[in-house]
């Protein structure tokens, strides 16, 4: 059992938790993720690591309420326990292994979309701690949905918030901000984009044109997260890779996003059914058009 030490709401449907998991906290590196299972009957859900405290033995996770399980999870409070908390999983970001001097001479651009700010944060923080300052673009729908702003601002070199509706920072998508920065004469050696698949796809289309090598963090459906099932397979450069062990970070210009987005939809009707079950509880007797009632 893994105790939740802190639980707070960051924005509408976005939550942060500190969880006691000493083995994970001791060994994790930026770019890795965990799998959590709430209770006996719960499913295994992959979540990126947002922060870690090796001394305290804690891991910070940030998640968005998008389905039945995350909806249940959002109701958990400090003092509750996760039945299972597994990690760290996946490969750390490449720069963790890179020579620091080489790294310091690189101009890096991080692009986060929505809840993607959470996995971007530990990477930017790690780089700051190792003397590397990077530019960070964070995009969200509106000002209210922008998360981790203060923390990100503290570790980023230049920090550029963007909102789709123009309520705060740059008005428009992250891609228009990238274009603008490049137009203004910024040269980037590498771009790291993390967020919804559609945002990563369009970022990659743009950076390919701009000739900026780009790394993305894939978020496909996962079950075990240790390489034993292949539910998370993605096509990279024409080859089949397992995101949980070969990734989650890949060369964005080689990823087949259309295939990845179709695969993400695989359980859409099951997922819709499960959400209705949680929302309506015992009062759910059909009407969702799928299940024909909760018999």
């Amino acid at each position: 059992m893994y105790k939740i030490l802190k639980a707070e709401k960051l924005a509408d449907k976005i939550y942060l938790m500190d969880v006691e998991a000493p083995r994970v906290a001791k060994h994790c590196e930026p770019g890795q993720f965990v799998i959590v299972k709430m209770d006996e009957k719960g499913e295994r859900i992959p979540l990126t690591i947002c922060d870690y405290d090796r001394e305290a033995g804690t891991i910070t996770i940030v998640f968005q309420e998008i389905g039945a399980s995350t909806m249940k999870m959002s109701k958990m409070i400090a003092g509750d326990y996760f039945r299972d908390f597994i990690g760290p999983l996946g490969r750390p970001s490449d720069f963790v292994e890179e020579d620091l001097e080489t790294l310091k001479n690189k101009k890096m651009l991080f692009v986060a979309g929505g809840v993607g700010a959470a996995p971007v944060y530990p990477q930017v923080k790690w780089l700051k701690e190792h003397g590397v300052e990077v530019d960070v673009i964070v995009g969200s729908k509106t000002k209210d949905m922008l998360i981790l702003e203060k923390k990100m601002n503290e570790v980023a070199g230049n920090y550029y918030p963007c909102t789709d509706d123009g309520t705060y920072g740059h008005a428009g998508m992250v891609t228009t901000k990238i274009e603008k920065l490049v137009e203004e004469g910024n040269k980037y050696d590498v771009c790291i984009a993390i967020g919804p698949m559609i945002m990563m796809k369009f970022t990659c289309l743009l950076t390919k044109k701009l000739e900026i090598p780009t790394i993305v963090s894939m978020n496909p459906i996962m079950v075990d997260g240790t390489g034993m099932c292949g539910a998370c397979r993605v096509i990279v450069g024409g080859e089949v890779k397992f995101a949980c062990v070969d990734g989650p970070e890949f060369d964005g210009h080689l990823v087949d996003f259309d295939n990845a987005m179709k695969r993400q939809q695989m359980y859409r009707t099951e997922e819709g059914r499960a959400i209705l079950k949680v929302q309506e509880g015992d009062t759910h007797h059909g009407g969702c058009g799928n299940c024909g009632g909760d018999n």
Binding site: I86, G87, L89
Partner: protein
């Protein structure tokens, strides 16, 4: 008097009935039936059946106790050699092990050794007969990686000798393939697997789940920072293979590992659990091993029409005869001498069919089996919505790649001595599928025993 040439039949759930549920197919013997079947054993002096058993259970020894009705004594005899009899009695391929050596088999049916072992073990589980525990610990700490059959056996044997054993498991449940791979209808999880593991706990073995060795910690760290003096690696062969044909990443294409993990470990077949599974209306399972049979029979129980697509003929099916028989009884359709060429995908990215080609058997290959060759121009398409790939598995490279000085071969299997499990690294032992590639539960148990022996020889010096 019954015909001594014929085995006492075992009671089973009706095929039509069981094709719609996940209850155990085989009910097993009751005491009268077991005693009657035991009476068929000739109690050979030079018992060949023992040679056929990878862990050399004293088979005539335990059967003669069953014949007398002394079931507790029979359990003790099995316990000298095997830690998981309720499991092995169910899933061992006895027809190619102990039972194929039985003298009774020359003229009639061999003695039902597996079913008798199962009866004795189930009796011990039901009547809570405890295994014999070590009197005191010897102070030596040993780590076991993986809680599948090899790890459980190694841990149990070492605990009996007084070692302080901790088993590290990557998944959230203990048992390895016993919980995620083999379905409920062949091996009940609550009634059998959990209880059998409880018996290993009663020996004093500690278990830590959710620890992925190579990620959550490493073997080197376990030895340097946590004072483990020896390590046994029983991490299995859990990495699924795919064919590499077009369409394989389409929605509706699963590895058998994923399909079975969802159903068995996550209990997706039960609506009160959160993990979903796409049941499918018409399913093809590609492959002919036990895992293919398990996946096919699972899909059948979820309501689909199921085809086994296998490139050789029935005689070459690597699955157990009993399982093939059960699958056919339940209505699984066998498309033999057929091989997939391409998975056909609709506009939404879903499987809509499969292009297959007819095969015929040609000259024997290096393994002595006749090689399947394509019949030119015999391609045709079948309509499907789900494809389950069951082409075998290989060891996960994670442990080998994160352990300094651990040698592997070109099939990514850990190199270890057969008699004691010693690897290329000092005080590190290995066994089971991690060493052999995908094999059987009982072979993994045999390797676990050998590893325990090797560790004991090292640490008791």
């Amino acid at each position: 008097m019954a015909d001594v040439l014929k085995r006492i039949p075992v009671r089973e759930q009706d095929a039509k009935e069981r094709a719609t549920n996940f209850e155990e197919v085989c009910y097993g013997y009751n005491k009268e039936e077991a005693m009657e079947e035991a009476a068929r054993c000739l109690n050979c002096k030079n018992a060949k059946c023992i040679e056929g058993c990878p862990v050399s259970i004293n088979i005539p020894g335990f059967i003669s106790q069953v014949k007398e009705g002394n079931i507790e004594e029979a359990y003790k005899v099995i316990g000298e050699s095997s830690a998981l009899p309720a499991i092995c009695g169910r899933v061992c391929p006895q027809e190619s092990q102990c039972e194929c050596k039985c003298i009774r088999g020359i003229k009639g049916d061999p003695v039902s050794i597996g079913k008798l072992e199962r009866f004795v073990a189930d009796y011990a589980l039901e009547n809570d007969i405890k295994p014999v525990k070590a009197e005191k610990t010897n102070g030596h700490k040993v780590a076991v990686i993986g809680s599948g059959p090899s790890g459980l056996t190694c841990a149990g044997d070492l605990a009996k000798l007084g070692y302080e054993v901790t088993v590290f498991e990557a998944l959230h449940e203990l048992g390895g393939v016993l919980v995620y791979g083999i379905p409920e209808f062949r091996l009940p999880k609550h009634k059998v697997v959990k209880k059998e593991i409880e018996k290993v706990k009663e020996l004093g073995v500690k278990f830590e789940t959710n620890v992925v060795i190579g990620k959550s910690t490493t073997i080197d760290q376990l030895m340097e920072e946590e004072d483990f003096e020896a390590v046994f690696i029983g991490s299995g062969a859990g990495l699924p293979m795919f064919m590499g044909i077009p369409g394989e990443t389409a929605n509706g294409v699963f590895s058998a590992n994923e399909y079975l993990t969802r159903s068995n470990l996550m209990k997706a077949f039960d609506d009160s659990y959160d993990t979903p599974i796409v049941a499918g209306k018409k399913v093809a399972v590609v492959g002919g091993g036990n895992v293919a049979m398990d996946a096919a029979r699972t899909a059948l129980r979820l309501g689909a029409e199921v085809h086994i697509v296998y490139r050789r003929s029935e005689a070459e099916l690597p699955a157990r005869v009993e399982e093939v028989h059960h699958a056919k009884e339940e209505g699984v359709i066998f498309d033999l001498l057929t091989n997939p060429k391409e998975i056909l995908v609709d506009d939404n990215g879903w499987v809509k069919g499969m292009k297959v080609i007819k095969m015929e058997l040609g000259e024997p290959d290096a393994s002595g089996r006749r090689r399947p060759v394509e019949v030119p121009g015999s391609e045709y398409e079948i309509e499907l919505d789900t494809v389950i790939m069951s082409l075998g598995t290989s060891p996960n490279p994670l442990i080998a790649s994160t352990t300094k000085g651990l040698e592997t071969n070109r099939r990514k299997c850990i190199v270890a001595e057969e008699e004691n499990g010693q690897t290329s690294k000092a005080a590190v032992f290995a066994g089971g599928d991690a060493v052999t590639g995908a094999a059987t539960v009982i072979l993994a148990m045999g390797a676990g025993k050998a590893g325990a022996k090797g560790i004991h020889e090292l640490l008791s010096k």
